[in-house]
């Protein structure tokens, strides 16, 4: 009896001592982007009781993978609603997987939107366009939420830039995304170029785009790629840049 009380006392004492340490360590884990998944009751309804229990017991990423594979199968069957729900599940369970956010957005904004536009069961073009826009918005939402969860990774900014450029036609917004991607560690070199290219397509940003492209041009031969040269020449003409400040006409 005394021994049991002693053990219980030591257990509680150990608990009191470790509690602040664990709280601090938990905070440090979170600031290093660990344990960010929000396992709430809404998710319980999505993944089922067993899946939720597994997610709570340290097998969160495994349950997320299962949802991801199911989403892949649903995509092969072009079940777009199911694809959306399963990707929502996978991204909730594993918010640090850039690939899940990226794939989810790609399926929504590229695949499902095209399928909606070519939907032969919907004769009304206005409604087809509306559905297409809704899928674009879903794709953008996935990427924006992905960025919120992964602000340290350039890949999702790049994907959002691509979505603004290819699907929404907003070149200024695309340029901002590429710029933010370029500012992050580990970003590929081309992000800076892409930001400048997109700016050159955005009405009202010609001067800004010219300055950015010219700066890249001045960095040396390795930056003087065909697209950069053609956009720079276009802007020189559009902005009436004096001839002696223009790049050599022989550059192609």
């Amino acid at each position: 009896m005394i021994r049991s009380a002693l053990v219980l006392f030591f257990l509680a004492l150990f608990g009191v001592l470790r509690l602040p340490i664990e709280s601090r360590l938990s905070e440090q884990h979170r600031s290093a982007y660990f344990h960010q998944a929000q396992l709430e009751l809404g998710l319980r309804e999505q993944v089922g009781q067993l899946g939720f229990l597994a997610a709570l017991s340290g097998f969160r990423s495994l349950v997320a993978d299962v949802a991801f594979i199911q989403a892949h199968v649903a995509w092969e069957r072009t079940e777009w609603g199911r694809v959306f729900l399963l990707f929502r599940e996978a991204t909730t369970l594993q918010p640090r997987s850039v690939m899940f956010w990226d794939m989810a957005a790609w399926h929504m904004a590229w695949n499902a939107s095209v399928a909606a536009m070519n939907d032969s069961s919907q004769p009304n073009e206005y409604l087809r366009r509306k559905a297409q826009k809704e899928y674009f918005a879903l794709g953008r939402d996935f990427l924006e939420r992905g960025i919120k969860n992964n602000p340290d990774r350039p890949e999702l900014y790049e994907s959002l830039g691509r979505l603004y450029k290819d699907k929404l036609g907003d070149h200024a917004a695309a340029a901002r995304c590429y710029e933010r991607a370029a500012a992050l560690p580990g970003a590929p070199e081309y992000d800076k170029r892409f930001a400048a290219y997109e700016l050159s397509f955005a009405p009202g940003h010609e001067q800004e785009a010219y300055t950015a492209l010219r700066q890249l041009y001045d960095l040396g031969e390795h930056e003087r790629l065909p697209t950069l040269l053609s956009r720079l020449k276009y802007l020189e003409a559009a902005l009436n840049i004096p001839l002696h400040e223009r790049i050599s006409p022989s550059e192609k």
């Binding site: 509690l19 440090q28 229990l53 969160r60 594993q94």
Partner: protein, 295 residues
């Protein structure tokens, strides 16, 4: 050394006990689970061939590390739970404790044997996992090289670099070390429970509950420390959970490591130290519970 020549703490005695426990556990053919692990890895990599290489590697790593975590946890609990009851049943414990072997040495030796078993298992699973990862990486690089005819060398180089980055990241190693430490903690806790448990099954069942509650402990702790609503009874219950149960969620880092989150060295070291402290403290509790126990 005391006058009789008997030392109160002897590493050689602990070594002998650990070695013996390890041999006993190996004879139980526990390593057969490695076969299941290997089948899981091979089956997984064959099935995943239909996905892109980034998807394939992520799923492969998730499945392998998840399996590693569950296998080591089960092994830690089941192997440790039967140590004391078996020794009592075989009457080995009387032979050992009749000799000048202090009870703490006996417990350290027993835990040492289980930790040795866990270390071997984790090493074997890691070797298998890295071998499959390495093989898949090389197969995919070879396939990529075949498909890159006409591409510039720097483009090929970039493709290969991306592939390599998806396959192996240095964060996997600390992640695996944390899996081992979590299993060590569970083994020490199981040893503690088994010192007062009435049967082997009781220990295993209690440990399964602790395993689940331990993963929710952080939620309970946050609820208790922050000013939420809830009655006094709820608060007392939550405080009880937070104080008594270990926070196992702190040792679940592989989920995010696989997803590409880098673990800073200092954070890894702190988590590892916490794991070692937990293991040592539970071993101490086991001794407190066991040292005056009538056998």
């Amino acid at each position: 050394m005391s006058r009789s020549g008997h030392r109160p703490f002897s590493l050689s005695r602990i070594g002998a006990l650990s070695g013996n426990t390890f041999t006993e556990l190996v004879r139980l053919k526990v390593f057969y689970f490695l076969l299941i692990f290997a089948l899981l890895l091979i089956g997984n990599s064959l099935f995943m061939a239909r996905l892109s290489f980034q998807q394939e590697f992520q799923v492969l790593k998730d499945v392998s590390l998840g399996a590693m975590s569950i296998f080591t946890s089960i092994l830690a609990i089941v192997a440790t739970a039967q140590l004391l009851p078996r020794d009592v049943e075989d009457r080995t414990i009387y032979t050992i404790l009749a000799k000048p072997v202090p009870r703490y040495e006996y417990l350290i030796g027993k835990l040492g044997g289980v930790l040795l078993l866990l270390a071997f298992s984790v090493l074997a699973m890691t070797a298998l996992f890295f071998a499959v990862l390495f093989l898949r990486e090389h197969m995919l690089i070879a396939a990529t090289m075949r498909e890159t005819t006409g591409m510039r060398p720097e483009q090929i180089q970039e493709a290969v670099e991306r592939l390599k980055a998806s396959a192996f990241n240095a964060g996997l190693v600390p992640g695996i070390v944390i899996i081992f430490l979590k299993a060590s903690l569970l083994a020490a806790l199981t040893l503690f429970i088994s010192t007062f448990a009435t049967s082997n099954i009781f220990t295993v069942v209690v440990m399964v509950f602790i395993y689940f509650i331990g993963h929710l402990q952080s939620t309970a702790r946050e609820y208790w420390l922050q000013e939420h609503g809830g009655g006094v009874l709820v608060k007392i219950f939550v405080a009880f959970v937070a104080l008594i149960f270990p926070d196992l969620q702190l040792f679940n880092l592989v989920d995010d490591i696989v997803a590409g989150t880098a673990i800073p060295m200092a954070l890894f070291a702190k988590t590892a130290v916490l794991g070692i402290v937990y293991t040592s403290v539970y071993l101490f509790f086991a001794w407190v519970s066991f040292h005056g126990k009538e056998l």
